[in-house]
């Protein structure tokens, strides 16, 4: 390790340096508050290497990425295009990337070094096809950061070049000429990042964020995947394994069939889903698909419900990002759905932390035009809610009418509650009538049928002699052999009670029953 330390004034005399060691600490430590994103960086690079190999080989479904947790390290291996000696050397260049925007997933040339923020060493071994050598870069992160911090405590600086040269090595070994791969080891994960060694944490994170295939168990996996391959220019997937287990995008249960559409920029003509002449249309801003919750309300899985942005099939942000950016009203309705918004416009670029998009015109355009997504989904949610309520009213009416009809046929309706029963039926039928046009298919006929049945039942009740010959409880005058005067008094009292408790028929009924019981007890006793 070189002990030469430059003071800024000396450097001016020798050679101008524009970047100093502490930037490494800032770029790496400060880049990802969520350390899981560090793993995603290397998955991105592996994915890019596989895509590059697919372009070279012409094999479209080639390649796999293996992630292995072997404490204290995490390994990420891909059988992609591999790196030659020059590329391995360039791996040390901070902020250097030959990937153009839109080409590959990463492009800033910073994320590749993010491993030094979580591990003692970053070890990268790679071999390109056709070269009987493999190259290994070792980035001694702990030593380097200690060096920088030690200098900082003395108020000294070290040029970035010198720092990196001091703490990295590149070596060459023999390799079979036909092998092509890259393996990254995050060696000895630091204590503050030990949770990265949790297989469960990593599985959940990678399955939701990496460009993996839909779970074959997801009933709509094929439909959605086919649509994405047809309509999203950079959509692709790779086989990703974690400790030998294949990862798939998660899915939720109880979903309706998927719907999908484009989001277009201002003034662009809409391309229809079944339109094959794509060259006549501009590229859309985004393509989205969604499945609505088949049951009432929000989906339960808080982590996976809602919509997710994806760029080149990598997730950007969480399910809160579209919810906040696109829903101007009733944002809770976004969680009635499960789906994705795939960005097609190359000017819409994820931020370094990938928790949002870079603030630019393209993003604003997405936000402005993307409101159509929330409008569409809100409309659907509202329609479903209407349908559900309409269905509930029909079912309620069927229950009310059925119950009253049964009571009527077994002579169990007291004369005193006849009007209440009629009122219940009227209310239920009226509710159905108001919402029948929103009823789901198959329920409209049932709604019409129950309205007709209800009307007929009301007519029957109006003309029916109810209560006179029922169980005897209500024919109390005859049971107690009341005289004409007593019967008249009884009828007046009952009429007053009914009037008084017209809003509470159940209470009224209970009171009458109680009076009957008391009369029976007292008058029977008097007789005895």
């Amino acid at each position: 390790m070189s002990n030469q330390v430059y003071q800024p004034e000396e450097i001016v005399l020798q050679r101008e340096e524009y970047a100093y060691g502490f930037i490494i600490e800032v770029l790496t430590q400060g880049l990802y508050p969520n350390k899981l994103h560090v793993i995603r960086e290397y998955i991105q690079n592996a994915y890019d290497a596989i895509l590059a190999w697919r372009r070279v080989s012409g094999v479209s479904d080639y390649g796999r990425i293996d992630t292995k947790i072997s404490p204290p390290s995490i390994f990420i291996y891909d059988d992609g295009v591999g790196m030659d000696r020059a590329k391995i050397n360039q791996y040390r260049y901070v902020g250097y990337s030959e990937k153009r925007t839109g080409e590959g997933v990463g492009f800033r040339g910073i994320g590749k070094l993010s491993g030094i923020s979580v591990a003692e060493k970053l070890i990268v071994t790679s071999s390109p096809l056709g070269v009987a050598e493999r190259y290994r870069l070792v980035f001694n992160a702990n030593e380097m950061l200690s060096h920088v911090l030690a200098l900082k405590s003395e108020g000294k600086n070290i040029p970035l070049n010198e720092l990196i040269q001091t703490h990295t090595t590149v070596t060459t070994d023999d390799e079979a000429q036909d092998r092509h791969y890259t393996m990254v080891e995050l060696y000895n994960i630091r204590d503050d990042s030990k949770f990265l060694l949790s297989e469960d944490e990593l599985r959940v994170y990678l399955s939701m964020n990496a460009p993996v295939d839909f779970d074959p168990e997801f009933p709509y996996s094929s439909t959605v995947d086919t649509a994405l391959r047809n309509y999203v220019p950079d959509y692709d997937t790779a086989a990703l394994y974690l400790n030998g287990g294949r990862l798939f995008k998660p899915y939720l249960e109880d979903l309706k069939a998927p719907q999908m559409d484009f989001v277009w920029g201002d003034g662009e003509q809409s391309r229809q889903m079944d339109d094959d002449e794509e060259e006549n249309h501009p590229e859309p801003l985004a393509f989205y698909w969604y499945c609505e919750h088949a049951k009432k309300g929000q989906l339960e899985d808080r982590l996976r419900r809602g919509l997710f942005y994806r760029v080149k099939n990598f997730a950007v942000g969480t399910n809160q990002l579209p919810r906040i950016a696109l829903w101007r009203s009733t944002p809770e309705r976004s969680f009635y759905f499960f789906g994705e918004i795939h960005i097609c416009d190359p000017d819409i670029v994820p931020s370094s932390q990938r928790d949002d998009f870079e603030q630019n015109e393209a993003r604003e355009r997405l936000h402005a035009r993307g409101v159509q997504i929330s409008r569409t989904l809100n409309r659907i949610a509202e329609g479903s809610s209407d349908q559900r309520r309409s269905k509930e009213f029909i079912l309620e009416a069927e229950r009310v009418v059925g119950d009253v009809q049964a009571e009527l046929e077994s002579n169990q309706i007291p004369r005193e509650v006849k009007f209440d029963k009629m009122f219940s039926i009227r209310t239920a039928v009226e509710n159905v009538r108001k919402r029948l046009h929103k009823a789901p298919e198959g329920f409209r006929e049932r709604g019409e049928e129950i309205m007709e049945k209800g009307d007929q039942l009301i007519k029957r009740l109006e003309g029916a002699e109810v209560g006179e010959t029922s169980t005897g409880i209500y024919d109390i005058k005859q049971t107690l052999k009341l005289g004409a005067e007593a019967s008249r008094v009884y009828e007046i009292i009952v009429a007053c009670l009914k009037d008084e408790f017209s809003d509470e028929p159940e209470l009224y009924e209970r009171l009458v029953r109680r009076i009957h019981t008391a009369l029976e007890e007292r008058m029977g006793k008097d007789e005895g």
Partner: protein, 296 residues
């Protein structure tokens, strides 16, 4: 170049071991568990892979840059699609067996069906305090396996680079005395071993005796013919294959008369250019008279 180079002799030894694995575990193909020192090229694992569902591979690495060979080992596993079956244990095998965990607290996941202790050094050495760490660690391995009532195949390779401070001679004296108590006169054979010009001849007896003694409390040993061969960098190597069969537990277990005689009389293979030749080193066999009776 950091990769290990193995001679065709070593490959022959692995093929012989594969035969033993097939013989002892033919009904459990694909279900076995391995613990060993496969080196970063994992040649033994690659040859035997179809028999195993799990590999606990120990790699110490070179001092000061331990991570390099460990990284290479995982790279080999990744290249051959074996990473999901691999547990990489980092550190010195003796220490790991003694502590039950590696330098990063990863536990040794007993039991194992095949344990391959392919040491790059010798088997006999004691530290400054007289502690025979390697023998102790093998003892620990045997105890852990026995606690789980597990039969297993122990494959043991070492070179002749031992720090023998009279231990081998002491072992031969013990054997002679023990057999004498059992009514067997082995002095002619023992003398032939002790005066033999090749160290291999004595190790051929010493190593099985050591394993037999360490395991006698729990296991019965079935020794296959040892193989001696020229390794890389012209190192003289010896390889032992011992199948340990769990028996009832004896507090004061000792190798049996049959075992001791078998060890002394067991010929060895000399492997040259990948070909095996049987040899008895010109040492006369111990003859067990039918009248020889053990002293009760």
């Amino acid at each position: 170049m950091a990769r290990d180079i193995f001679t065709q002799n070593k490959q022959k030894v692995r093929q012989m071991d594969l035969r033993l694995i097939e013989r002892y575990f033919k009904d459990r193909k694909g279900d076995l568990r391995y613990l060993g020192l496969p080196a970063s090229t994992m040649m033994d694992i690659l040859l035997w892979r179809s028999y195993f569902k799990h590999f606990s591979a120990v790699e110490r690495g070179r001092q000061g840059e331990e991570y390099r060979y460990q990284h290479d080992l995982m790279l080999t596993a990744m290249q051959h699609g074996l990473a999901d079956r691999l547990e990489l244990l980092r550190g010195d095998m003796d220490e790991i067996l003694l502590r039950g965990r590696d330098d990063f607290s990863n536990s040794v996941l007993y039991p194992f069906d095949v344990v391959s202790l392919d040491y790059s050094g010798g088997l006999i050495y004691k530290n400054s305090s007289g502690r025979a760490k390697r023998a102790e660690s093998i003892g620990n391995l045997l105890r852990e396996q026995a606690m789980r009532n597990h039969n297993f195949l122990l494959l043991l390779s070492c070179n002749l680079d031992n720090e023998d401070q009279g231990e081998i001679r002491a072992v031969f004296s013990d054997i002679e005395r023990d057999l004498g108590k059992l009514g067997i006169n082995a002095s002619q054979t023992i003398q032939a071993y002790l005066s033999h010009e090749l160290e291999e001849a004595r190790l051929k007896v010493y190593v099985p005796y050591l394993v037999g003694t360490l395991s006698a409390r729990w296991y019965q040993c079935e020794h296959s013919k040892p193989i001696f061969y020229q390794g890389n960098h012209d190192t003289r190597m010896m390889h032992f294959s011992i199948f340990l069969k769990r028996t009832a537990e004896y507090v004061a277990g000792k190798p049996s008369r049959q075992t001791l005689v078998h060890i002394l009389n067991l010929p060895a293979f000399h492997c040259v250019d990948g070909k095996l030749q049987e040899t008895d080193f010109g040492i006369p066999e111990v003859v067990v008279e039918p009248t020889s009776q053990p002293i009760q």
